[in-house]
Every structure is written in C-alpha cells, then in structure tokens.
Symmetry: C2
Subunit: 323 residues, 2 copies
C-alpha cells in the first residue's frame, strides 16, 4: 500500500470534504469569497482531515460528524496559515501568492477571522461541548506558539527544549486533536481516544521537524517558496540550534552575526549553506525518526484494522516525505 492507496480508500469522503470546504466559506461579499477560495485552492495535503477520517474507524465511524470535524480543522488550519503569512511577511506559499501578497494584510487578517468563525459555526452544529473545549484549547495553544515564535525570531540563544515546546504548540497539538476528535466523535473507548491523541502528537512533532529540514534541503520548485525561508524570516529551527551549538567557532560566529544583525549582515545563502553542512539536518532527521517510532508504537497498541494500517503508511510517509 502506498500513499495513493490510502487517499484512494478515502477518495469519496475527501471529495465531499472539498465540497464542504468550498460551501462553508461561501460568502456574498466578493472580497471574502475570492480570498477564501484563493486560500483553499492553495490546497495542501489535507492531512488533518485524513487523520480525522482514519481515527474515526476506531469507533462508530459516523461519517457525517467526522466530515464536520475534518472540515472545521482544515479551516482552522487555513485560518492560522493566512495569519501566519502576515506575521512572516510571506509572499509565497505552496507556489502561490499568499492572500496578503495578492491583496493586503488587512484582507488576510479578516479572511482568517472569517474562516475561523465559519469553522466554529460548523462545529457548533455537533452540539458537543467536549469538542468545543478541545478545539478552543488548541486554538489558544496555536496562538501562544505563534507569539513565542515571533518573540524568538533571530534569537540565537535557544535550546532543544524550547524548540520542542514551540513546535508542539504550533503544529503537533492540532494534529493530535485531529486524531483525538476523530475517535472521540465516533464514541471510541476513552483509552483509544487517548492513544489517538498521543499518536497524533508524535506524528505532529515529527511532521514539523521534517518541514524544518525540508525548508533547508528542498529547492524552490518543490517547496513552492524560496529554500531557507525560515532562516530568511529569522525563524530559528532545530538544525540552526544544532549548528549554533556544535559547529566550528568560525561558522557559529557567522550564524550568530547574521541573527544578531536581524538578518542585515552576512550572506544568507552562505549562512544556509553553513547550516546545511553543520550536521544539524542529520540530527533533526534522526530526532524526527525517533518521534516516528513512538507514533508507530502507539499504533501497535490500537486495534488492528485497515485504518490502522493506513495510519501506519501515512505516518511513515509524512515523516519521510521529500516535499
């Protein structure tokens, strides 16, 4: 079984989800309609919906409810992306202009707010207070993760612990609750719901580490944005933290000077190259493999099924992907 097979088994559900995404953001205000559709069309892997759908198989697999959760989570994810692009002054995402580049920061802010409110309205139809509690906590954590990231831009004094804490908030939490909510809404037993959360958490951590590696090793064509975007924006990821600790004094100095000057001094292409050759990428990849193993070991504890098999394939894919 490969990734196409996993997505194939969900083909019908995913098509309905695409339809729901479009329907949900429909607005009679032209500007909102245009910017929302622009955002959704930028696509992405829809991995949060896939995690919701697959986790639903550990319970009653109530497809209508699962679809609502899946659509809401993808919308929340999209809303945070459009706000993040404002924070990062980003012009490109997945090879397309960002909403803020195509229109402006104000439109991006309100498109995000609008999409978030639509997600909340959709979830409120489920009439399940626990879902609300989990979602609102996740939203708070994501905000905190982003604010921490802003605070720590160009900060070279970071630790592994701080990095892990930040990517948990920024990425892993939403993937964790995608799995948790899929199982929960399908009335799976509590220990299974808990393991789904934990599984999603480990996958999410590994997923973000892979993202941070790809940002350095990928090329602009596959990334859909310039290589080294994180470093260009001052976002100090694990490979950089590693280089700052273990590289030669000369190289450390180069990175430090770049960061201390808030990106004003030093040749960014050279800095990216220094990080690439520091061993930080290998270190980050190995750590991400450890999280992958933890995720797989949780799957072993969950009931065996075709969905479990699919999750196993998906886990391995999202961590080892090259785009």
């Amino acid at each position: 079984m490969n990734l196409q097979d996993i997505y194939k088994s969900l083909e019908c559900d995913l098509r309905l989800i695409e339809e729901d995404l479009t329907k949900t953001v429909y607005s009679s205000v032209d500007q909102l309609q245009a910017s929302s559709v622009h955002l959704l069309e930028a696509g992405g892997k829809r991995i949060r919906p896939v995690f919701v759908l697959l986790s639903g198989h550990f319970g009653t697999n109530d497809k209508e409810k699962l679809r609502k959760i899946a659509v809401a989570l993808e919308l929340i994810h999209s809303a945070t992306l459009v706000h993040d692009d404002v924070i990062d002054d980003a012009d490109l995402r997945r090879g397309r202009q960002t909403v803020r580049a195509q229109w402006d920061n104000r439109v991006a802010m309100y498109t995000g707010d609008y999409i978030l409110s639509q997600a909340l309205q959709l979830v409120s139809q489920l009439e399940n207070p626990e879902v609300h509690q989990i979602l609102s906590m996740a939203m708070k954590e994501m905000c905190l993760g982003e604010i921490e990231q802003i605070r720590d831009l160009y900060n070279g004094e970071q630790t592994l612990k701080k990095y892990l804490h930040r990517i948990k908030r920024k990425t892993a939490f939403l993937i964790a609750i995608s799995c948790q909510l899929g199982a929960l809404i399908s009335k799976a037993p509590l220990p299974i719901v808990r393991n789904c959360y934990l599984y999603g958490y480990y996958v999410g951590m590994a997923f973000q580490m892979t993202d941070d590696v790809l940002d350095l090793v990928g090329d602009e064509k596959t990334l859909g944005k310039p290589a080294g975007s994180d470093l260009r924006q001052g976002n100090v990821t694990l490979p950089v933290i590693y280089a700052l600790k273990h590289d030669t004094p000369e190289n450390k100095k180069k990175i430090k000077q770049y960061l201390e000057s808030i990106g004003e001094s030093g040749n960014i292409e050279e800095i990216i190259d220094v990080v690439r050759r520091s061993g930080g990428i290998d270190y980050t990849s190995r750590l991400s493999q450890r999280y992958l193993m933890k995720a797989l070991s949780i799957l072993e504890k969950l009931p065996m099924s075709q969905a479990n098999q699919s999750l196993k394939m998906l886990t391995t894919f999202v961590v080892n992907r090259s785009y």
Copy 2:
C-alpha cells in the same frame, strides 16, 4: 435613578468581571500579557457585560454562568477592537495608544486571536451548544460587517439601507446577543429570550448611530481620538450619506471630491465642518431616537422589575450620552 445607580447595583458583579477579565487573559508570554492588559485597561463602558447581567434577571439569574458569558462577550468585543484598529490604521482609542501603535500590527493580530481563543475556552466551560451556535454566528456577522466596511471605504454611493445593514453586523448583533444570552443562560421563557434579543438589537443600532454622531460633534478630549476620525479613515457614516444626498451641490461636490481622491484632496477639517452643518447629524440623531423608542417599547412587553427599570435607564443613557 441615574447611570451611577445602575452600575452601583451591579458593582459587586462588575468587580468580579474585571477580575475574571484579567485572570482570563493571563499569559506566561510577556508580550501577550502586556498587550492584553493594555487592551483591557483601555476600559470602555463594559456595556455588554451590563446587558448580560441585567437580562439574567428575567430568569434564574445564575450569576456564575452570567459572569462567564459577560466576560466572554467583553473579550470578543475587545478582540474585534484590536483587529479593527489594524484595519483602520488607528493610533488612538479612548485616549490611549492602540496595541498596534504601541507595538505593531503583528502583535495586534495575535493579541486579538489569543483573546478570542480565551473567550471561546471560557464559553466552552458552560457546555451549552446553543450558546456556541449563537456566538459563532455573531462572530461571523461581525467579520462580515468589518469586511463590508473596508469594501465601502471612501465609497460615496451608499444608501441608508446599506448603512443600517452594516451597523447591524458591526455593532447591534453583539449587543443583541448579550441580552439574548443573559436571558437564555438564565432559562428565561423563549418569548422573553426573543424579546431580549430584539431589545438589544434596537439599542445596538441606536448606540452605533450615537457613536457616529459623537465622532463628528465631540472634541478630541472627550472622544479620546481626533474628531471626525471616521471620515478621516474613509468610513462613510449616516451623517455623511445624508449630506451627500441633501446638501447644496457645492457642498456635495466637496465631500465627493474628498472621497473620490481617497482623502488625498480637500481640507478634511472643512469637509467635517460641511457634514456638521448639513443636517445629517440631526437626521441621524432623530433616527437613533426612533430606535431608542422601539427598544423601550420592547422593555414594556418584558416583565416589570428593577432590572427592567435599570435597562430602561441604561437604554436612554447609552443613546443620549455625550461621550
């Protein structure tokens, strides 16, 4: 009874609400803590909490639940203000620097997102799906109202109908649901809950019209921002719409030229003066009085009580206030 008396009877509850507001936005991230507290300290009249508390008297008056709703609504209101200030490039609000002026647009965006997520988390404690449905709908309507306002900046081709539609979304809806939720969470009978909503809607409409008049007739000291701020930002309010329809050809031309040039041509002080003397302020005040009367007539239909009396005083005050 005067306004002080109304607030006095709620003094204890309002003090607890202030405490809850501060507690709810507490964050270990210094930046968020500072910007959130800055926003809350700017204060305001806390009229949404007051409407929640007073409407609760039409039912069981469950103070703990009412306080959660009141705090959540004030936080949602604050979150929209901080985002609106980004949209409007506003530097001053209530005589203080706005979050975006004190820090920057990015901090303002995330402060708003964070405060909103905290409000949602608070409301999720109530475990009441209907409250969620009402709130998420209100949030959507407010987004649409703001987007419509951006779309129609410097647009001189506006009608009364369009203006009413916009202020309903922008302001009246949140005040309407403050009253509705206060009654609903207190298990008031459905016809009372509905009338509370309707009452709040009429008050909210009148409230915004008063705001739009004060923006033109007030001075910088009482307003806490320059007089004519709306027009300076291109926000075409009812007095301007009236002037564009009923003033002398010469004056209409002045306003039109100002709007068509997106504020680049024409003396803004002169334009403000033209609008002031156009009769548009009187027209808007009279319309706001009509909404005030409608609000009071709904109160007549609600059970008579001290809370009802207080609402009557408050209604008259918020519409006829001079600050």
